[in-house]
């Protein structure tokens, strides 16, 4: 064993002294404590993080958490390109619920610009955010159950997540890194028949939640490992800056959707589940209950979607595109060019009606619809000015902070603009940083095996923590 100091440790003892408790640097009587290093590559699949624990037998006496293994320079990368170029980087922040990040960043820039999005866009943002939130909670609960040995629960939850990812793919085109939000709106409208697909997917998710409840919620082993473990009181959690399901598990009622409603949340009926003891089991129950509430919100959103269904108003009959193509191949081409075709809006994408419904009516922010771009010189110039270097979205100089309710808590975007088309500073307030910072406090005094469920309920997402 070399005497080279471990990277990042501020402890002045050498490695031999640290790990074996032998050598000239060891002076205190605690020399029979063992030091165990969990990570950075370890099976708890939440991400890469290092927990350096000092153990007295099985009990953790002190712990130090080291993060930063996934630092990908998000904040610096956002300053390089125009405002909309930061959207793919925001996808990869909390990569299990990427839609919330997209919309949060877009809302911050919209606040800087002083514009408001259309009603339909707000409803779409709420619906897609809630679907993303359910995906996040499914992954978190599934992964932490797997780490305790309940592998079946993990498989069931990932199955449910697949159904939701199919929905996301219908709307945005991708499963995970979707880049769906835009400054001023969203990329495209919801496809036809979305409401029915959501109903089917939610029926599957509800069934999976039922099955999970029967498998683990009353399970003796699960409860023994989770109840009373990793407890933190409400006021202490607030002092540590913790928000989200973690804080609500300790009984503090703070949900950004209720406290400072944004988008269409003030028109939705939902409850905020609260825990009592602040231990892992309460947080698990809070997340399970929140999934049900998220489904409720998404269903209300779809029912109350303004602008009605997505059928485009055409004179004459619509024809199924496949039948259209078949007719053409058979040589029956008379009158085909006059027949209105209805493609899925997110393939057609930028048609005038679809664009106007979900994007703000601001020429300096939103790309013009394709009919205008290709059909008129003003539209072409508008499109050119928005995309050219040095032009584009230029919010007036200033700063704005917009908090949204991410799956882990208050996800805040603080954007500073200097009047040019590049953001001057983009800061993401990571909701999982406070629980990870409080992790040493929560595992001290507990046993080594209790680190795993506690860390699982922290729901640390590396992309968001290290940015």
């Amino acid at each position: 064993m070399t005497d080279k100091r471990e990277v990042g440790m501020s402890d002045p003892r050498t490695t031999t002294e640290l790990f074996l408790g032998e050598g000239p640097g060891v002076t205190d009587a605690k020399s029979n404590h063992m030091f165990v290093n969990l990570g950075p590559a370890h099976p708890a699949m939440h991400g890469i993080i290092r927990i350096f624990a000092e153990l007295d037998g099985e009990t953790v006496v002190k712990a130090d958490v080291e993060i930063g293994y996934l630092h990908r320079a998000f904040e610096k990368d956002c300053e390089v390109g125009p405002y909309n170029n930061a959207i793919p980087y925001t996808d990869r922040l909390n990569y299990v619920s990427p839609l919330i990040n997209n919309f949060g960043y877009a809302s911050a820039v919209e606040k800087l610009l002083g514009i408001d999005v259309t009603d339909r866009c707000k409803y779409i943002r709420v619906i897609m955010s809630e679907i993303s939130r359910i995906c996040d909670h499914l992954t978190c609960v599934g992964a932490s159950a797997m780490e305790l040995g309940a592998f079946t629960v993990f498989l069931y939850m990932i199955k449910a997540r697949e159904f939701l990812w199919e929905l996301v793919e219908e709307v945005t085109g991708a499963r995970l890194t979707i880049s769906y939000g835009r400054v001023g709106g969203v990329k495209a409208d919801l496809p036809a028949g979305f409401h029915e697909k959501v109903k089917k997917a939610f029926a599957e998710v509800r069934q999976v939640l039922e099955e999970t409840h029967t498998l683990v919620t009353g399970n003796r082993i699960f409860m023994d490992r989770m109840v009373g473990v990793g407890a933190i009181s409400g006021p202490e959690a607030v002092a540590w800056g913790i928000t989200g399901p973690f804080l609500r598990g300790s009984g503090v009622n703070y949900d950004v959707r209720k406290a400072q409603p944004y988008w269409a949340y003030d028109r939705m009926q939902f409850e905020v589940p609260l825990g009592k003891n602040g231990d892992n089991f309460d947080r698990f129950l809070v997340r399970m209950a929140e999934m049900e509430q998220s489904m409720r919100i998404a269903e209300q959103g779809l029912e109350g979607l303004p602008g009605g269904s997505i059928q485009v108003d055409w004179e004459g009959k619509a024809i199924d595109p496949a039948a259209y193509v078949d007719r053409g191949k058979q040589g029956k081409t008379e009158g085909l060019l006059l027949v209105p075709i209805q493609l899925s809006p997110n393939l057609q994408g930028q048609g005038r009606d679809a664009q106007r419904r979900v994007n703000a009516d601001d020429k300096q922010v939103v790309l013009p619809p394709k009919e205008t771009t290709y059909g008129s010189i003003e539209g072409l110039m508008n499109h050119f000015m928005l995309v050219m270097d040095g032009f584009g979205i230029r919010p007036p100089a200033g700063e704005a902070y917009v908090p949204v309710e991410g799956a882990n808590g208050e996800l805040g975007f603080y954007v500073v603009s200097d009047g040019t088309d590049r953001p001057y500073r983009v800061r993401c307030r990571p909701p999982c940083l406070p629980p990870v910072a409080a992790l040493p406090r929560m595992i001290e005094g507990q046993m080594v095996a209790d680190i795993i469920p506690t860390f699982g309920s922290v729901n640390m997402i590396g992309g968001e923590l290290d940015r």
Partner: protein, 165 residues
Amino acid sequence: MDGGAIVARLKTRLGARVTETHAHRGDHTAVVTREAIVEALTYLRDEPDLRFDLLSDLTAVDYLRYPGREDGPRFDVVYHLYSIPHRHRVRLRVPVEQDDPVVPTITTLWPIANWLEREVWDMFGIRFHGHPDLRRLLLYEEFQGHPLRKDYPIERRQPLIGPNV
């Protein structure tokens, strides 16, 4: 409570040490000198009808290339506060000069400030006087420079690290 009223209360309490207040797009901000920041935050946290119990964010901005602030203080340390009982927010800024980038720590007020200040040190090079353990948070100790400063180019490569180097 309305944001303007909060900032006015702070100004009454601290007097001339609140050098500027403004509200841009509804976000009320107070610019405070660095000697007064600990007192300002303690007042905001403990005063019953302000009760800013949640330190939402602690970050910094480098104004080296900002039009209009070329000769002003280079950095601003920004504090975002939120009150859970009263549901209001406020932002505080502390201007910091380039040749003396030190700000008093607020770890005694909120324990989360420990990590947030470490991140500001890591990314900007602003020291926090009185911080118990000021080391890098997101980058490794051998990293040279402070990347979020405007004069650090994004593609700069670092010397290699590792056991065999």
